[in-house]
Structures are given as structure tokens and as C-alpha cells.
């Protein structure tokens, strides 16, 4: 029960949530709700693993994962943006589709996999920093470092660039954006696709780096849904998303480790002596997601800001008011 180990593992598994959450933030900021993250992550995980096992190239696997999930997300885009179907149901359909496809195509994939298929690095100088070093820069998969780089880039893109301005406009007031010459449909497609790419990346990160292998639905075990909840908690801001993702990652590790030692803080460790109580620990990430959602919703209510104003509402060109 070493706190540093827990945090270190937390950062690692939190990276998965980070990618998925950031991807969904892009999609939702443009006004499209994509609930298919779980399905896209599964397809990503399956594709990454199978391609890597077949070709021996982890990067190729990641690329295929991103493309596969991205392609799926375009289906959701087509149905929600062009056909203006209900985005909730379309997202659900996408989840079923992604799950089904990954189960079918992933059938027979070697389930074992203890070797990580992507390189692991320790950054020379930075890993010597007390506390932060061992947690953030020691023995972490390359994906984790990619995550660190992503974070500020995403924030800058959304808030300090012209395309980011357009992204925000399209999600807040698509009619105004349209009138100002922005192609609302095209932009929304683009960001839904980005969301898909990142979800695929998240899935690939699981099956290649964090928990290598393919374990059917257990590969993701609901992390896609947790990511969607985290978007609300993050109030659509990348930094808060990172905080939530890493915290959840740490929680998952904590749940595992807490069942190990005989005594906890000097007291009898109930989880050691009653192994079945571990099931209650299993509930924690999901219960926490609910709590995190409650916090996020209350904040949104209080600040009267929150979701992009046009989130979930299909944009229909040419409709006049009244």
C-alpha cells in the first residue's frame, strides 16, 4: 500500500480516461453528444491488440485503433448531424455496435499478454524530482508522456486559437456560426471524428500499455461511461478532466492494493480478513462517478454556465424562429 505506487499506477491508468475524456470534450464542445465512447474504446482496444500481435508494431496497432474508432464515430456523426436523429439513442446504438463488432472480430484473439507492447520510459532528470519524479516520470509507458503533452496542447487549441474559437462557436450558437460563414456540419463531423480517434487511442492504450491483452468487455469495464461522466465533472475543461482522470486511475489502483496488507493504519484490515468485501470496493469507481456527476451538475446549476448551449441539439439549417 505504497502511496507513491498508487499514484504512479493512477497516472498510468488515468491516461486512458484522459484520452477518452478529452476526445468527448471535443465532440461535446462542438455540440454533439457521443455516448458511444465505450464501444469505440473496445474497438480501439481490440484493433490495437490484434494488429500489433499480427504485425509486431505497436504504433501501427495504435493507428489502426484510432482509425477504426474514428470510422465508427463518423457513423454516429452521419446519423446525428445529417439525419438529425436523437443523439442519445444514436450514441447507445454506437456502443452496442462497437461492442458487438469488437467481440465478433476479437474472437479467438490470444487473451494472454503480460508483455507491454509499447515502450516504457523513465525520464532521466525529471524522475529525480522528489515525489513528482517517481510518480510522473519513472517507468511510465510512452502513452503516459503523450498524455502529458496532449493536455496543454488541447487547452491552447480550444481557448487560444482561431479554430478553437470556431469550435466553441459551433457548440454554443450554431445558427450564429452558420451565419458567420462557418460550416457547422463539417466542423461537427470533424470534432466527432477527433473524439473517435481519441477514444480509439484510449482503447489502444489499455490493450497495449496499461492492461495488455484482450479480455472482451472486461477490457474496458465501463471506463468509457466513466469518461462521459468525467466530462461533466470537468465542466468541459481539459485541466479538470486531467485531474478527474488521474484521480480515478489512482482510485482503481487503491482498490486493488487495499486488499493486500494485513493491517491498515494500525487496524485490522477488513478487506484482508473478509476477502468477499472486495466486491464493495469494486463498486467504488462507479459510485464515485455518480458522486462526481452530482458535483458537476450542482456546479453547472450554480454557475449557470456549464454545457455548451447547443449540446445535443441537432442543427437544422434554414429554420427560422417563431
Amino acid at each position: 500500500m505504497d502511496p507513491l505506487i498508487i499514484l504512479q499506477a493512477g497516472v498510468a491508468s488515468g491516461t486512458v480516461l484522459l484520452f477518452a475524456t478529452l476526445g468527448e470534450i471535443f465532440a461535446e464542445r462542438s455540440g454533439v453528444l457521443n455516448l458511444g465512447v465505450e464501444g469505440m474504446m473496445l474497438i480501439g482496444a481490440m484493433s490495437a491488440f490484434s494488429v500489433t500481435v499480427a504485425t509486431g508494431n505497436g504504433w501501427l496497432g495504435l493507428l489502426m485503433a484510432m482509425l477504426a474508432a474514428g470510422a465508427l464515430s463518423l457513423l454516429h456523426g452521419l446519423v446525428s448531424i445529417h439525419f438529425q436523429a436523437d443523439q442519445v439513442v444514436s450514441g447507445l446504438a454506437l456502443t452496442f455496435l462497437g461492442t458487438g463488432l469488437s467481440l465478433v472480430f476479437g474472437e479467438g484473439l490470444s487473451k494472454a499478454g503480460t508483455i507491454t507492447l509499447l515502450p516504457v520510459y523513465t525520464v532521466p532528470l525529471l524522475s529525480a524530482i522528489p515525489l513528482a519524479g517517481p510518480v510522473l516520470f519513472t517507468n511510465q509507458s510512452v502513452m503516459v508522456y503523450i498524455g502529458y503533452l496532449f493536455l496543454p496542447l488541447v487547452w491552447i487549441y480550444i481557448n487560444r486559437t482561431r479554430p478553437g474559437l470556431h469550435l466553441r462557436a459551433v457548440g454554443e450558437n450554431p445558427a450564429a456560426a452558420d451565419a458567420m460563414g462557418l460550416n457547422v456540419y463539417r466542423l461537427r463531423y470533424a470534432y466527432v471524428f477527433v473524439g473517435g480517434l481519441l477514444a480509439g487511442l484510449a482503447g489502444g492504450t489499455i490493450s497495449l500499455a496499461i492492461s495488455p491483452g484482450w479480455f472482451s468487455e472486461l477490457t474496458t469495464s465501463g471506463q468509457g461511461w466513466i469518461a462521459i461522466g468525467l466530462v461533466i465533472f470537468a465542466q468541459w475543461d481539459p485541466w479538470r478532466a486531467a485531474f478527474g482522470s488521474y484521480a480515478f486511475g489512482a482510485l482503481r489502483r487503491l482498490i486493488l492494493d487495499i486488499q493486500g496488507p494485513e493491517s491498515l493504519l494500525g487496524l485490522r484490515n477488513p478487506f484482508y480478513y473478509n476477502p468477499y468485501w472486495g466486491f464493495f470496493l469494486e463498486m467504488l469507481p462507479y459510485a464515485f462517478t455518480i458522486i462526481v456527476l452530482v458535483i458537476g451538475s450542482r456546479e453547472a446549476l450554480r454557475k449557470r454556465l456549464g454545457a455548451p448551449a447547443a449540446l445535443g441539439v441537432p442543427y437544422i439549417r434554414g429554420e427560422r424562429g417563431l
Binding site: F83, A85, V88, F96, W225, F279, I290, L293, V294
Partner: protein
Amino acid sequence: MATQATSPVKSPAFPFRLRFERRVEVPPPWLGPAVSVGAIVIALLLGAVVLRLVGGDPWAAYRHIARAAFGDIGVFSDTLVKATPLILTGLACSVAFRMKLWNIGAEGQFFAGALAASAVVLAPYVPAGAPGWIAIPAAAVAALIPPTAPGWIIIPAMLVAGMLGGALWGFIPGWLKAKLRVNEIITTLMMNYIVIALVNFFVFGVWSEGGFQMSRTFQKAAWLPRLADFATQVKAFRGLTTHLGLVFGVIAAVIVWYILYRSRWGYEIRLIGDNPRAADYAGINITRNTVLVLMTSGALAGLAGMSEIAGVVHRLQTSISPGYGFSGIIIAWLAKLNPLVVVPVSILFGGLILAGREIQPSGVPRLIQGIILFMLIASEVLMHYRVRLVRAGAEE
């Protein structure tokens, strides 16, 4: 409202363009069912393509499904058994979706109902060293409903327990949504994972029989009567596993239909689902209805769980559902949220799930269900828009 602009859809680099024109009149009545059937057909075709891609033989697979599900009375009876929980979860989802409450938690509510119903029967068998919060209620229940109690006491008790368990599992996300505006999609889904862990705890940690992942088998009094039980009176019923749960399902469908279309509450539900602001304006209490509807939805799914426990499995175990709760979502959508249509659609899906067990790869039934839902939504555009193929450059 009758004048809408055309929105020319610019498809990239196509020689033709699709022109979507908003419908000005009500679409013809045959369009809805035609679209649904078309969606299923296309889904089956696409499923066939996928099966081919992974090296299977789609037509053999489909023929097998047809035979294995509807081939003779025996298998049809098995199909009905699979359809029973589907009817109830389909109803659960229909009711909630009517009010635009996205209950993705039917699976969890199913488990909650199964757990509660099992608890009624297994209460006397809580092991000695169990902690107080389990032992004391268990003792109370065991006193009220001893193992020797006859069927006409146990079954209704299980029924009530199942519905209450599901209702509780629906209440929590419902209350959170009503009072705190928390997104019910995620909360209901999280509750799924939570209850499954809870069931695992009770199966492994409390009622496990010899360390296996199941409890002891229930006494006969706790079994829902089956057609096969009457084989001595009616020879034809021999071996038929269809059980009383089917009757619950059909009765529930009729009741739900009645509520939705003939009662004041149903009107309120439909109005809220269509336009919550108008419902507010009409003086309807949305908060209260949110909680009530999710509880009702949960109760229906919980009833499905009870029916599966008492009618098929006859014990508490960790795997009771191949995704009944999720299939319910698709069934509800396919039935266009009409409670009566849910019944035949559930039978169809029941056949698919039953026969699909024997198909490799195992994800195929799930995949087909996903494609069906997808095609359904994609095709709904036809209800609101007319599609015309226009030569690019001719107009606009």
C-alpha cells in the same frame, strides 16, 4: 410551421446529391412499420457480411437461428422462455423512454429484482457468522416466510420483493435526476455495475454453495409453475419450459398500454416526454413524475429478474442475464415504444438470443442487435424528411 427551408446536403464529390426536404404533411401510416422491418432486414444483411468476414457461413447461421428458435413447439417454448424477461425489460425501457428518461439501467434493475426475490427464499440460509446488517433482516424475513411456506405465499412475496428491488434501483437515479438534475444515463449505468458487484458479494460471500458461484437451489414452492408441470393433464405440455412469467409479461404489457394511452398519468408522461416546458406550463409535476416513472421502469425490470430467477434458474447465481436489460432498449425502440408491440418483438429477439448461443463467434447476436438499433435510428430520418436524389448541378 408548414413552411420550412430546404437544406441541401452537400455530399462530398458525389455525382448525385441527396436532397432532404422536411415533410409538410404527416407521413403515411405504413411508413413506420415498413421502416422498422426494413431496418431489421438490412441489419441481418450487414450481419451476414460481418459473419462472412470472420469466416462464418451466414446463411447456415440464419437458417439455424430460424430452426433453433421457431422450428418446433419445443424450441418455440424455449424461445418464449427467453422472451419473457425481454418483454418486461422492453416494457421498462418503453415506459422510461416515453418520458425521455434514458434508463440504461434495466440490466441493473433486473439484477436488483433477482437479488431481492432470491433474498426472500434464501433468507433462512444466511450463514452464522454473517454481519448484523445482513443477519438481522434475514432473520426477520425468514420468520415471516419460512422454508416450509407454500407456493401461494412465497411466489407473491418474491414478486413484490423483485418489483421493490427494481423500483429501488430505479428510484436512486430518478431522485438524483429529479432533484439534482444529474444525467440519468450515466447514473443508471453506474448502478448496473454496482448491483452486479453486490450480487457477486451475496453469491460468493453469503449464499455460496461449496464455494461455487451459485446459491443452493430453491425449494419447489419457490418455482414458478411451468407448462411441463401440467404434463399429466395435458400430454402436449411435456417438456415445455414456458413458465408463469410469460403471463406476468403479457399482463404487464396490457397494463402499461392502458396506463400510457387511457389514463391521466400516461397522458402526463407522454406530454413530459414530448415537451417538458409545455408540461410545466400545463401544471404537471415533472419532478414527481421523474421519480415515479423511473421507479416503475425499475419495478418492471425487477420483475423480469424475479421471473428469471423463479422460473428458469431457481437459484441465485452470478450470470443470470445475457444482457436482457440492454436488449430491452433495442426492443423498446423497435417497438416504437408501444407496449403491445413489445411482445412480438421480444419473441423475435428471444429467438435470436436463444439460437445465437450456438453461433460462433459469440458476439454475433449482440452485433446484430446493435446494427438493428443503428439502422432504426438512421432510417427514422425518413419519417421526418423526404429524400430525393438530385443530379448535382441541376438545382442550386
